[in-house]
């Protein structure tokens, strides 16, 4: 599974590499679909790898560190630095993993100038300089999606590039950023394919492109009918089309719902006898549990909702300022208060769906 392996000039990937690639690719797909929380550059959060572990991995797996000084950043530095450079950890871990394989392969080719990420001199810089590690393996294009492409082109100072070769010695071009933190930052290991420029800009550009292509592939799988189309522009067309279609469907459905319910009260207990299946199936597998709460009379529901809902008018106000950030919590507190009101007020009745919903709430 190496859909993104461009370089045909690479020496044949071994079975190990392929397996590793597929594992990494699956990993990356998962990571791709996710988005970093709050801070878009927090790749530590992105890959859920505690930075210390990543550093350990990194240090552990670099058998041929040619520059011992690069090992010096202890994990403590990492902690301090990770506030500003959260992209380190996972990328370093990846670099470590790949570097091992790359090292093995390169050993066969007789070169030793390899990819141990520590061999990079680049100390970390202040938050202005972000060094990224781009994998040198063919599947690293897949793993690259998680690399923040922010200003890749604008921060060439601490990138380390290697030229891929078949039997040629790899030439490292490492620019060291001047800074005193001397933190271990992830590097972008970019392999220039044979016959291509090793200019930092074009390498970065290529890395970016590969990352984008990886994600486009995911999108292609998601959007129906996109698999056969080749060419980014057409795929983009399809995606745009799909998004527009979905939004139109939302419009139509909401209009339909508005027409059906004149009062906008989706009283599920009315719907239950009419439709036992559609709402209940795959949507709410967990809601089909035995009713533990006393059930509510269909008529009594509305009154009961009115009372606790008075609380809700108060709830949005204190959160109005932080609506964007606390919205998840906003909805939780009304739900909790609703629960507290509903439970003592419930009377036994037949309404499994409604009470199940309230249980969830």
């Amino acid at each position: 599974m190496e859909p993104l392996s461009g370089p045909g000039a690479r020496s044949g990937p071994t079975a190990d590499e392929t397996a590793l690639d597929s594992v990494q690719f699956g990993d990356d797909i998962r990571h791709l679909i996710s988005v970093p929380t709050e801070n878009a550059s927090s790749f530590t959060a992105l890959l859920e790898l505690p930075p210390n572990q990543a550093v350990e991995l990194l240090h552990h797996r670099s058998p041929q560190s040619t520059r011992p000084d690069s090992r010096h950043p202890p994990p403590q530095h990492f902690n301090a630095g990770l506030v500003t450079f959260p992209t380190n950890a996972a990328l370093i871990e990846r670099a470590a993993k790949f570097s091992v394989f790359a090292a093995e392969e390169e050993l066969n080719n007789g070169s030793n100038a390899i990819t141990s990420p520590e061999a990079n001199s680049a100390p970390s810089s202040s938050s202005a300089n972000l060094q990224k590690v781009v994998k040198a393996e063919p599947a690293e294009a897949a793993s690259c999606p998680t690399v923040a492409a922010k200003d890749e082109n604008q921060r060439p100072s601490s990138k380390r590039k290697e030229r891929e070769k078949k039997g040629k010695a790899s030439s490292k071009k490492s620019k060291s950023a001047a800074n005193e933190d001397s933190e271990q930052l992830p590097y972008v290991h970019v392999r220039a394919r044979r016959g291509q420029a090793t200019d930092s800009h074009s390498l970065a550009e290529r890395a970016r492109r590969e990352k984008i292509n990886a994600r486009m592939k995911l999108l292609q799988e998601l959007v129906p009918g996109c698999n056969k189309i080749s060419g980014t522009a057409l795929v983009l067309d399809e995606i745009i089309n799909h998004v527009q279609t979905l939004q139109q469907q939302v419009e139509v459905l909401s209009m339909k719902l508005a027409a059906v319910n004149p009062r906008l009260d989706f009283n599920l207990d009315n719907m239950l006898p009419a439709d036992s299946g559609s709402l209940m199936d795959s949507n709410f597998p967990a809601m089909m549990m035995p009713v533990m709460w006393p059930e509510v009379q269909p008529n009594g529901i509305r009154q009961q909702y009115h009372q606790p809902l008075w609380n809700f008018d108060v709830v949005p106000q204190p959160h109005a300022g932080g609506w964007g950030r606390e919205d998840g919590h906003n909805f939780m507190t009304p739900e909790n208060s609703l629960l507290s009101y509903v439970s003592p007020a419930n009377s036994a009745s037949l309404n499994s769906s409604q009470s199940q919903l309230k249980m969830e709430l």
Binding site: L32, I33, S34, V35, P36, L47, E48, P145, A148, A149, K150, N153, Q154, R208, R209, K211, I212, L219, A233, I239, I240, H242, V243, Q244, L246, Q249, V250, E251, L253, S254, M255, L257, A258, N261, L264, F266, A274, D275, S278, L279, N283, F284, Y305, H306, L309, F312, D313, P316, A320, G321, W323, G324, D327, G328, F331, P334, E335, L338, L357, L361
Partner: protein, 178 residues
């Protein structure tokens, strides 16, 4: 990092929050103005569905935060009693300005000026307008990532709404026949 979108849990979350929001809106409107036009109701439904969808993501994605910010800055029905928070809207605008300015200075790759690149840029611009918060994202890669998540969430939302519509249809029919 945001875990991959689990469709079932997302749908459940979305439905919960949506129904809650609808009740809130409903109550609110019953108290304040008479809100019986179909279009208004549809807007309420749609608005609450959008907010619920964004809330079900729990702020893990850029588009969800942007959606919530957009709705909180506009005078939506839920916020009639409080002045809409102005700072979020300003922040969004400032963000956009910064992104625009930075994009001007970005060093484009070697193929940045060909006709193909222009086509790509036009399409990504369209996509940016479609996806909420798309204009705030500086680079294409994260835009595509956001689109991916947005598409899955939209799909789940459409699915839930469709089921609800079907259920209420059948309920209405049943009640009419009784």
């Amino acid at each position: 990092m945001r875990p991959p979108t689990n469709s079932t849990t997302f749908k459940r979350e979305f439905l919960k929050k949506w129904l809650l929001a609808l009740q809130l809106c409903n109550n609110h409107h019953n108290n304040n103005n008479n809100n019986n036009g179909v279009v208004e109701r549809k807007n309420t439904i749609k608005l609450s569905a959008e907010i619920a969808m964004a809330a079900a993501r729990n702020g893990a994605t850029c588009w969800s935060r942007a959606l919530i910010a957009k709705h909180s800055s506009s005078s939506s029905s839920l916020h009639n009693q409080t002045p809409p928070p102005r700072h979020s809207k300003k922040r969004v605008l400032r963000c956009k300005r910064i992104i625009r300015r930075s994009r001007r200075c970005i060093h484009h790759g070697p193929a940045a000026h060909g006709p193909a690149a222009a086509v790509m840029r036009r399409k990504t611009a369209v996509l940016r307008k479609l996806v909420p918060g798309g204009e705030l994202m500086g680079d294409e890669a994260s835009l595509i990532r956001e689109t991916l998540d947005y598409v899955t969430s939209l799909r789940a939302q459409v699915d839930v709404m469709r089921r609800l519509a079907r259920a209420s249809d059948r309920a209405a029919m049943c009640n009419a026949m009784k």
